[in-house]
């Protein structure tokens, strides 16, 4: 259960990032988030859950409880892990419809646009897409 809307959480993250004067501080914060992200149990680190990119590996899994999607993920690279941690904070605990309609503007607003590049197949964009796929799949399954 997430008692804030996706937009509200996004706004909070943008506010938090506005406190940083430098890129160094932003990255230190993201690295810190990455280190704090709860590790994914080994049983979930399967080929099926793998979002394999050119440089680092991401494992992403999702559960569906009471109409809300909950994500868990991990990566072997800590900055990626920090970025995922923010995505989970924004999207987890929302309905499939809310997730599928999320604009995720905060990524641009905190200056992480470069991580959205199409060429980074495990960049933020690919992760957001994968998270939305989960939402769509849960919704489709429910409709059956």
């Amino acid at each position: 259960m997430n008692n804030k809307t996706i937009e509200q959480t996004e706004a909070i993250i943008v506010d938090e990032f506005s406190l940083f004067d430098s890129w160094d501080d932003k990255y230190e914060y993201i690295i810190d988030l990455g280190k704090k992200l709860a590790p994914l149990p080994d049983e979930f680190k399967t080929e099926e859950n793998k979002v394999k990119g050119c440089q680092s590996t991401v494992w992403l899994t999702a559960d569906y409880t009471d109409g809300k999607v909950y994500y868990r993920a991990e990566s072997d690279a800590v900055i990626v892990k920090g970025l995922i941690s923010m995505l989970i904070r924004v999207l987890s605990g929302h309905t499939p419809d809310e997730i599928m309609n999320a604009k995720m503007d905060f990524i641009n607003k905190i200056g992480m646009t470069s991580h959205l590049a199409q060429t980074r197949s495990n960049g933020l964009l690919a992760m957001v897409r994968q998270m939305k796929h989960y939402a769509l799949a849960f919704k489709a399954k429910e409709g059956l």
Binding site: D24, I31, C54, Q55, S56, T57, A77, V78, I79
Partner: protein, 415 residues
């Protein structure tokens, strides 16, 4: 424009050299660019940039067919590069210089023409365990098609080829050996002369992937006695999209054509087409005229600077970087040997290469992280990838120290 000049003591004026490369003045993330990704592609001196602009501003015409002045001038400039390349690698004749898109296309050309024509079921090809994917995949494709076998020269812990093992792989079924002159992932210089001689004793041909060596080492294809030599313009100060395949004339003459189209024909009827002479038989269609023309000033820049001087600068940077990297606790150099050129590749305990790459980029420092298109080599060392710094003639000791400062900080934050 000030240009780099040599003095008699064989040192060069690094400031003048840097001045010739305009991109070195730009900033990245608020810092002066430190470009250490030269093994991926080198930066371009003003002469090369000017040649491209000049071509499109004053010379643009299709080559070889027009009777008008522009076409003649463009053709002369286009063909002048072929002579410059011939001298650059000391080929016996200009007809042995084939223009391609780059090293990858050069290798594919040989795979799709020579190998397809000459390989039979049960034949064997040898590559090494430190090849770029572009010198492995084309051979895998043709081996699968022809039911031939691909064998691999193993690599030792120091990132060197095991010549004793190579010797055991050679036999009367070996038709071709394809190895790189210098490893893109580690910088190891391979003993190509010995490799070629051993292959020839078994009657096998040898293709040398010179993508990483052409900029740094003296290349003499006749002395080396390789049968094919492939390299790219963009890794040696020239434009992208332009490469060279050198082949011994008799081999090229006997090889079937690669692409069909204009330029490569002598006579066309619907019953039969006869093909053009070398080198045009392999150059179908309107070629990459501008980039071919602009390769010549790149070669001239290397020649006037002198490869010995270039190596001296790069060796100094490599030695300094290697020494300073060893200060970092838990750092391991991949390819730790004493015959390397321009490249240092490493991993650090508890730190992912991608994280280091992002944090260095944040300081304006461009390094390469990942598997360097050499996944089998990464598997050999049981690592997902490395951090690779690769140096060029315009890099400085101060830049290496900047990288070290950023690297030390990155490791501190990431661990």
């Amino acid at each position: 424009m000030k240009t780099a000049t040599l003095n008699t003591t064989h040192t060069f004026d690094i400031e003048a050299i840097r001045h010739d490369f305009p991109i070195l003045n730009r900033e990245v993330k608020g810092h002066r660019l430190v470009y250490f990704d030269n093994a991926a592609t080198s930066q371009k001196p003003q002469e090369v940039i000017d040649a491209l602009v000049y071509y499109y501003s004053f010379l643009n015409a299709n080559v070889h067919r027009g009777i008008h002045s522009l076409a003649e001038e463009a053709t002369a400039a286009f063909e002048a590069t072929r002579d410059a390349v011939k001298d650059f690698i000391n080929a016996a004749a200009r007809e042995e210089i084939i223009y391609t898109k780059g090293t990858t296309e050069s290798i594919n050309l040989v795979a799709y023409t020579w190998a397809r024509q000459n390989l039979q079921e049960g034949d064997e090809l040898i590559v090494s365990g430190m090849e770029h994917h572009s010198n492995t995949v084309p051979w895998q494709i043709v081996c699968e098609e022809k039911k031939a076998r691909l064998k691999v020269i193993p690599v030792n812990d120091n990132g060197e080829l095991l010549l004793e093992e190579y010797k055991k792989l050679l036999n009367e079924r070996t038709k071709l050996v394809a190895v790189n002159h210098v490893s893109n992932a580690m910088g190891t210089v391979n003993p190509v002369k010995a490799i070629i001689q051993m292959a020839h004793e078994q009657g096998a041909l040898v293709l040398i992937d010179g993508a990483q060596s052409a900029m740094h080492l003296d290349i003499d294809v006749q002395e080396m006695d390789c049968d094919f030599f492939a390299f790219s313009s963009h890794k040696m100060l020239g434009p992208t999209g332009m490469g060279i395949l050198y082949g011994k004339r008799a081999l090229l003459e006997a090889m079937p054509v690669f692409n069909g189209g204009g330029e490569m024909i002598k006579e066309v009827t619907f019953e039969k087409t006869t093909y053009n002479e070398l080198p045009y038989k392999f150059e179908a269609g309107t070629p990459n005229i501008a980039d071919a023309i602009a390769l010549k000033p790149a070669i001239e820049y290397i020649n006037k600077t002198g490869k010995a001087n270039i190596r001296q600068q790069e060796d100094m940077l490599l030695a300094h970087a290697t020494e300073r990297l060893r200060e970092i606790d838990g750092l391991k150099i991949i390819g730790d040997n004493d015959h390397k050129v321009s490249v240092v590749s490493f991993v650090i305990d508890g730190v992912h290469p991608q994280d280091v790459g992002i944090l260095l980029d944040n300081k304006g420092i461009a390094v390469r992280t990942g598997h360097h298109c050499a996944e089998p080599l990464m598997s050999r060392f049981c690592i997902p990838g490395t951090i690779r710094a690769s140096f060029a003639l315009y890099n400085t000791i101060e830049e290496v120290d900047l990288m070290m400062e950023a690297l030390n900080k990155a490791v501190r934050i990431l661990r």
